[in-house]
């Protein structure tokens, strides 16, 4: 009879270590008791994005594959043992089944759970193709609308459209601002994608687009360049 990795893991454990181990696509994490049940939210898409080592104590739901700090496991055994060790430390009950008893909601228990799934992998945004047409390029890397671009340039949308529909010549100051905007967005688009860059520019409070309106380009550049470093704080 074929065994799932989880079944094989359960069978490999001693009676004292026996656990109920399930990894379904529930949107909850549940820990309970000496004999615990574990459900970890994850998606097959996330699982497919995994190519290397992950944090300890993570189970990719829906795949039945355990993952330990040392890498993707062909068997769940080590991961299960790792989980068992965590629970032997006394993680409190958290989750759907007993939400009111979850003192861990604000305590160390939830921190322990948070540390198990501390990030979400996603596809790397594709860089947009730039044509050399300044306004088109700015739109490509920022997803800003004509109205938003006009506001950055301190003009009306209709005036901005007139510039575009004429011979294509922009006032010198507007051209400089758009070049700066294209350069700044190009720094960020790798991690955000164009829609994320737009959100980065307009989200309050302290929206960088307000600094651009005020001509404070250097401040926006400073904020964008800060992502280049990885600091310990």
């Amino acid at each position: 009879m074929n065994q799932s990795p989880v079944e094989a893991a359960e069978r490999s454990l001693s009676h004292e270590e026996q656990i109920w181990f399930s990894a379904f696509s529930h949107r909850r994490t549940v820990y309970s008791g000496e004999r615990f049940r574990l459900r970890v939210q994850s998606t097959p898409a996330q699982a497919q994005g995994i190519t290397g080592p992950l944090p300890r104590y993570v189970v990719l739901a829906g795949t039945g594959v355990g993952v330990s700090r040392t890498g993707l496991m062909s068997s769940s055994v080590l991961a299960v043992h790792e989980f068992n060790r965590v629970f032997s430390w006394g993680v409190p009950v958290v989750g759907l089944d007993e939400p009111e008893s979850a003192s861990a909601h604000t305590g160390n228990g939830l921190r322990q759970i948070v540390s198990a799934v501390s990030y979400v992998a996603s596809a790397k945004p594709s860089p947009p193709s730039l044509t050399g047409d300044l306004v088109q390029d700015v739109r490509a890397v920022t997803n800003l609308t004509s109205a938003e671009l006009a506001a950055v340039l301190g003009t009306s949308e209709s005036e901005f459209r007139r510039w575009r529909s004429g011979d294509g010549t922009l006032p010198a100051e507007a051209e400089r601002t758009l070049k700066a905007l294209r350069a700044i967005a190009s720094m960020l688009v790798g991690g955000l994608g164009p829609s994320g860059v737009r959100r980065w520019l307009v989200a309050e409070p302290d929206a960088p687009i307000d600094d651009l309106r005020r001509g404070q380009v250097d401040e926006v550049v400073r904020r964008a360049e800060a992502y280049g470093e990885t600091l310990a704080t």
Binding site: G52, G191, A232
Partner: protein, 217 residues
């Protein structure tokens, strides 16, 4: 570097480490591969002319990112202004903090250090205090005397230092690779090409005074 800090650095007991793995989140450029060894000279808590910030635990890496990008975490508010509650937090904890927080690549770096100052041990923290170095500097928002200690240690040949993480308190730690530790690199590899911290990580992070995003509660 003052003589008092030099004395404190001299008091620290060094250890060697066999092969150790550290993690680091890295800026994603628009084109080309991320550079996991890109540093800005003289920046961060353990600033020297070349300090590479890493952490032995992945969740600490992401907490450090949240703390350092607190304004973006704030602006990302995935609750639409409602804020997290004890009821919604367990549900949302594993959802990513979205735009405008930029995604980062996650790298795994393997080092074999000969001279590491582990400042997380009670013994070394006592030695620092005995030498007049206040260990609350480890958590000071303005970094306190930490950069001086790092420079003094680098001058003494420390290849890396391990220190408590201000972002994941009380039990997180960071590893700052100092200039002398560059040669100790064994290998590096990408773990994830693009990722963002979860809401739970953002919630569990300790921020600088006055910088904790309001929606985290």
């Amino acid at each position: 570097v003052t003589s008092a800090v030099e004395a404190a650095a001299s008091a620290v007991e060094l250890v060697s480490r066999t092969v150790e793995v550290y993690f680091r989140h890295v800026f994603i450029p628009s084109r080309g591969d991320p550079d996991p060894f890109r540093v800005l000279a003289g920046t961060g808590r353990w600033a020297t002319p070349w300090t590479l910030y890493t952490a032995p635990e992945v969740h600490v890496v992401w907490a450090e990112y949240c703390r350092n990008a607190a304004s973006d975490v704030d602006r990302a508010d995935p609750t639409g202004g409602v804020g997290l509650s004890t009821t919604s937090l367990p549900v949302l904890a594993q959802v990513e903090v979205g735009d405008p927080l930029p995604r980062r690549a996650l790298y795994r770096l393997t080092y074999r250090f000969g001279q590491v100052a582990d400042l997380t041990t009670r013994a070394n923290q006592q030695k620092l205090r005995d030498a007049g170095f206040d260990t609350t500097n480890f958590y000071a928002d303005d970094y306190g005397l930490c950069p001086e200690l790092a420079q003094a240690g680098a001058d003494l040949g420390w290849q890396a230092l391990i220190a408590p993480s201000a972002a994941w308190q009380p039990d997180g730690s960071c590893t700052a690779v100092l200039p002398g530790g560059r040669v100790a690199l064994q290998r590096h590899q990408v773990v994830v090409e693009a990722a963002r911290p979860t809401i739970g990580t953002a919630w569990a992070t300790t921020y600088r005074s006055g910088e904790r995003p309001g929606w985290l509660g």
